[in-house]
Amino acid sequence: MKIFPQKILKNRSLSSGFTTVAIVFLFLLLGPLLTPNNHTFQDLSASLQTPSVSHWMGTDYYGRDVFARLVYGGRITWLVAVVSTFFAVCIGIIIGLFSAYRGGWIDFVVMRFVDVMLAFPKLFVVLLIVGLGASSTNLLIGVLALFSWMEITRIVRSEVISQKNRTYIKSARALGLGTPRIIIKHILPNILSPVIVSSVLLISTIILVESGLSFLGLGIQAPNASWGSILNDGKIDPLGTWWLSVPAGLLILTTVTGFNLIGDGLQKLFDPRKSL
């Protein structure tokens, strides 16, 4: 499929999603250049200051600069979301490909395991593991990836099953090409579109889960920040200390909406029949 710039521009979900995500990305990228303040530096004498010239978005209870915390917190939130999505997608693709390509009882067993994993109350299990283990960013990434690959596996499996009996795969086998080559060169490129769409949507889901965990104090631990933990800082007096909760909430909302719009737009781009 040729993706012309006009085609992307015409696709309103995709262009608005890209713009939204790009703005947040630029904010995270260039943020440190805009403020001299350190996100972990505490100044108890400057506790809970309203936005001013020296602290663009005010300070929290410990006098830390909220703007700097939003920038660094956002970086961690994005890092967790993107890296755990990457691992979840890798696990999902490998298991889905293996299950569908082997078929038979292996496929049956793998898919029942997926059913069991999907039936687990994901958030509570993540809460339990993160709560029991020493909370760290790496653990959080691992746990989120471990409970997010199943949807990708299901998509990959159904796509591989529909592709593997097509004539071009039969022809490739008849040419004597090996299974790894057939999978990488012939099957993977033809199943990637729905996987890309789901991956983008998975990023936004993981941002929400990570923010939720951090809000509950189980995600990113102090002195590091994440948008969820900043939101938590403002929960005692949301109206009185609005500069803590509102910007963090808006950033989560904007990012998740942006990724969802990209996912929606990509779906339309890859398969126009699926959009209304």
């Binding site: 038979g104 086998r173 004597g176």
Partner: protein, 260 residues
């Protein structure tokens, strides 16, 4: 066309049986349906052997069995004296290029995400690729302009020619033609048949042609087998079959073709 009679067949199929699982649920096999029943035939070097029969009679299952795409229940398939069913996966993979299929569905026969040029990168050695690609394209009546195209940018006839060129690129000794012109419109079908006739003249190749259409078979085949409900009813040289059909079903097919 003269039928070349030589002693050693390229392909020997003996008492072949193929069955498929039906009611395939949850990965566990329940019942089976017999698609090919006790089929035997030989194909000699340079000849075109055709199997004629209505859709669903098991013709394509024979091709799938020869290509190793379906599990056979019993019987043997000897290709150049090697029993394909007893070969290890590795050896079978090495042998595979010698038996090339051309399937009916040309729309699905090419990877939609692969440029035409990349198809030949997979099959031709790097040092000879350019010259051999040009030769192959010329032999199927195409120019090398289409090497940058994706399959969806080609017409049905062009796609089927590319499928043929891809099959020829690995220098097969047996070409399995599974309803090669069925999905084409008449003018393209004629062009493809003419192409196959001319290829037979210039390349030393053996053909197994499978079709429901006797008029196509008449143009290409030296010997013909008639198939019904998974069984071969009779096999004869083409002229004998047309003049002296033994079976009522064969007479029926011949009269239908004449009426058309």
């Amino acid at each position: 066309m003269n039928s070349p009679i030589q002693k050693q067949p390229v392909l020997e199929v003996k008492n072949l049986n193929v069955e498929y699982p039906v009611n395939f649920r949850s990965g566990f096999q329940r019942e089976t349906k017999q698609a090919v029943i006790d089929v035997s035939f030989n194909i000699f070097p340079g000849e075109c052997f055709a199997i004629v029969g209505e859709s669903g009679c098991g013709k394509s299952s024979i091709i799938d069995a020869i290509l190793g795409f379906v599990q056979t229940t019993s019987g043997t398939i000897l290709f150049e004296k090697q029993d394909l069913m007893k070969l290890s996966l590795q050896r079978f993979r090495k042998l595979r290029p010698k038996i090339q299929p051309v399937f009916q569905d040309y729309n699905q026969a090419l990877n939609p995400r692969q440029r035409i040029g990349d198809i030949f990168k997979e099959t031709l050695p790097r040092n000879l690729r350019e010259s051999q690609t040009d030769q192959l394209l010329t032999s199927v009546g195409l120019s090398n302009e289409i090497l940058n195209y994706f399959p969806h940018q080609l017409s049905g006839g062009q796609k089927q020619r590319i499928v043929l060129a891809r099959a020829l690129s690995v220098k097969p000794s047996l070409l399995l033609l599974d309803e090669p012109v069925t999905s084409q419109d008449l003018s393209v079908a004629v062009q493809i048949v003419e192409l196959l006739i001319s290829l037979r003249k210039i390349m030393p190749m053996t053909f197994l042609l499978v079709s429901h259409n006797l008029s196509i078979v008449q143009l290409l085949a030296d010997r013909v087998a008639v198939m019904k409900n998974g069984q071969l009813l009779e096999q004869q040289p083409l002229s004998t079959l047309l003049q002296n059909p033994k079976h009522d079903y064969t007479k029926n097919i011949i009269s239908q073709t004449t009426q058309l």
